[in-house]
């Protein structure tokens, strides 16, 4: 104490030390995630076999999705102050999901906003979409044979005989365009995981690499990171920050619309766009079309193949119908008006293909021509112009 009495200025060491300790703890908490080096190395094929043989009873956890797609801030969902829970706000920023899975029949996703929440709950044949902000619930009866297995990545029926065969099939399918390698291990949500890295062989692609982290024990993908050639940080990342592999209680999947809720009964024909939120869509499979919602004249034409494929489509007259039908928050005409306004903000481009607006993201480029065509691809604008010109 005499030091502090004789030299009062030394007292400032105490708050400085506190700041240093807090900073050090925060830094190590982020970097303590060093993988166990004694993990046996696995080949890509082995990892894929593991994933297929995964026998997951259920899991619950928190998923954080960060996207830095280089898009202008489009507020389709109205006011989005402080982390929106609206399902239409997924295009930019950081979003937190809470996830519960218990087999193929029971899934629940909750998009967490600051003082709100949107839930997608599937329990057997019941599919509920709940929004706390406007107190609405949409109920859909699914057909008896589960059409959409939600977040589970199994597609029964068309599987090859053995998982090994399937893994080889999958690898050979992407082999011409993609180099697949395993690059050591990492720690995701406190779990040791193997990293599977996919790299496009065509360097014209804006995608530098896709890194998938697979849990070493339960063989579940815990994180997907998509790196752009433009930025060092992942342009898109979705991954667990916390995961628990115990089967969640059945009551997590029971949803009864609370009193005072506006309940909409929906038939499957006008399917809700909220369930395909998982990022496990494999690129280069040429199925860029939204299933079931695209009329014949808007069927896209695909120019090129693999990672540098560019999809060219005609815009429907009602622009809003393309993507956001059934999404809560905003009627179709409102959305159209917003889209027009956003389009006006984009830079103009001219070429042999005509004139239009260009949206250059970190992972893809979109060109919307003045004559109502839209071209999108994970390539720079030149390739998109070329694809438009080739039409």
């Amino acid at each position: 104490m005499s030091l502090f009495t004789d030299h009062p200025r030394t007292r400032w060491a105490a708050p400085a030390a506190a700041v240093a300790v807090i900073g050090a703890v925060a830094l190590t908490a982020n970097h303590v995630a060093s993988a166990d080096p004694s993990l046996p190395s696995r080949s890509a094929a082995q990892l894929l076999v593991d994933v297929q043989q995964a026998n997951l009873k259920g899991l619950s956890g928190t998923v954080v999705q960060t996207s830095n797609l280089g898009l202008p801030d489009i507020n389709l969902g109205g006011s989005t102050q402080g982390g929106s829970s609206s399902l239409t706000s997924l295009v930019s920023g950081t979003h937190t999901w809470r996830v519960w899975l218990a087999g193929p029949q029971q899934q629940r996703l909750a998009l967490v906003g600051s003082l709100g929440e949107s839930d997608v709950i599937r329990n057997g044949r019941d599919l509920w979409v709940w929004s706390s902000k406007d107190k609405t619930a949409t109920h859909t009866m699914l057909p008896a044979e589960g059409a959409k297995p939600g977040a589970a990545s199994t597609t029964p029926g068309q599987l090859p005989k053995t998982p090994q065969e399937a893994a080889q099939l999958a690898l050979s399918a992407i082999e011409p365009t993609t180099s697949v390698e395993t690059s050591g291990a990492s720690v995701v949500a406190g779990q040791q995981s193997y990293d599977l890295v996919l790299k496009p062989k065509d360097t014209a692609s804006l995608v530098a690499s896709v890194r998938i982290s697979l849990d070493t024990v339960h063989h579940v993908p815990l994180r997907v990171q998509v790196f752009s050639t433009k930025t060092a940080n992942p342009a898109f990342e979705v991954g667990f920050t916390h995961v628990d592999f115990a089967k969640p209680a059945a009551r997590q999947f029971a949803f009864n619309a609370p009193p005072g809720t506006k309940v909409t009964q929906s038939t499957l024909g006008s399917d809700v766009g909220g369930t395909n939120g998982t990022a496990s869509r494999a690129p280069g499979t040429a199925s860029e079309a939204k299933p079931g919602s695209a009329p014949a004249d808007t069927e896209p034409k695909v120019v090129g193949a693999g990672w540098t494929a560019v999809a060219v489509a005609n815009l429907p007259k009602d622009t809003a119908g393309a993507t956001k039908s059934g999404a809560p928050g905003g009627t179709a005409s409102e959305v159209t008006g917003q889209l027009q306004r956003v389009l006006g903000l984009l830079p103009k481009a001219t070429g042999s293909w005509g004139t239009g607006r260009v949206l250059e993201g970190t992972l893809f480029t979109v060109v919307i021509t003045d004559d109502g065509r839209v071209a999108i691809g994970a390539v720079g604008p030149e390739r998109v112009y070329a694809a438009l010109a080739s039409k």
Partner: protein, 295 residues
Amino acid sequence: MSVAEAELAGTSHAPGIAALHPRRRRLSTRLLRSELRIIAGRRRNQAGLLVLAAVPIVMAIAVKMSTPRAGEGPDFLSSITSNGLFVPLAALSVEMAMFLPLAMSMLSGDAIAGEANLGTLRYLLTVPVNRTRLLLVKFASLCIGAVWGIAAVALPGAAIGIALFGTGPLTTLSGSQIGFGAAVWRLVLVILYLAAGLAGLAAVGLFISTLTEVPIAAAIALMVFTILSWILDSVPQLGWLHPWLLVDHWLAFGDLLRDPMAGGEIGRGLLTAAGYAVVFWLAAWARFAGKDITS
């Protein structure tokens, strides 16, 4: 540190001193009680509490007279009609932005600078009260003041809400319903969580209060700090900074109203508040213990 000071502080750091005084006095709460009496007795504090309590009452009456449609107005406002407990929640989500930090600014501005301004600080220290102990007591009284301020919103709000809208089951943000008892428990957790956030802010205010002898300057400075934090929190390009801002975690109290409750963000909010409290209390200590008290 003199022997008398160590004894008064209620703790004996050096073993030699403890040996001299084997019969240790237990921690006296007299200073804290007198501090709380002063805070409660000030007319301006009483008026502030009335303003805080008026907001939920106005909200409840307004909702009673015209039912708002879902998705309009402040958060939770449209839920009030289903359960009276949403009155305090809606009021807290509105008042947490400005009113409650303003109340904290008044209290913490008075803490040291107010005493110095009135000329009572030197008498307080000649009692004699160890300066470290004085700072501890001041901070403890500010923490109690934080709970007090939030209770001044929540309790009248709950009372009028229950009186006007009854005690039906409460609909959580996840769309499930919980019983009234569980809902009260959630409200208590919200009160405690927000009080912890305000206590972190109070430590900043205590530090500012040691820098000046003008209480209004200290109060304004803390208000500026709060508003600046909100502005920084609203700039998306500063996303890396947001987890370090005290105010960024306040609205996470909504996580306590989910089913099941989400703990992660709440935990980070409490850690941030604790970090602010430790750092700024120590800064206040470094500043105050070496300061010449002239008034």
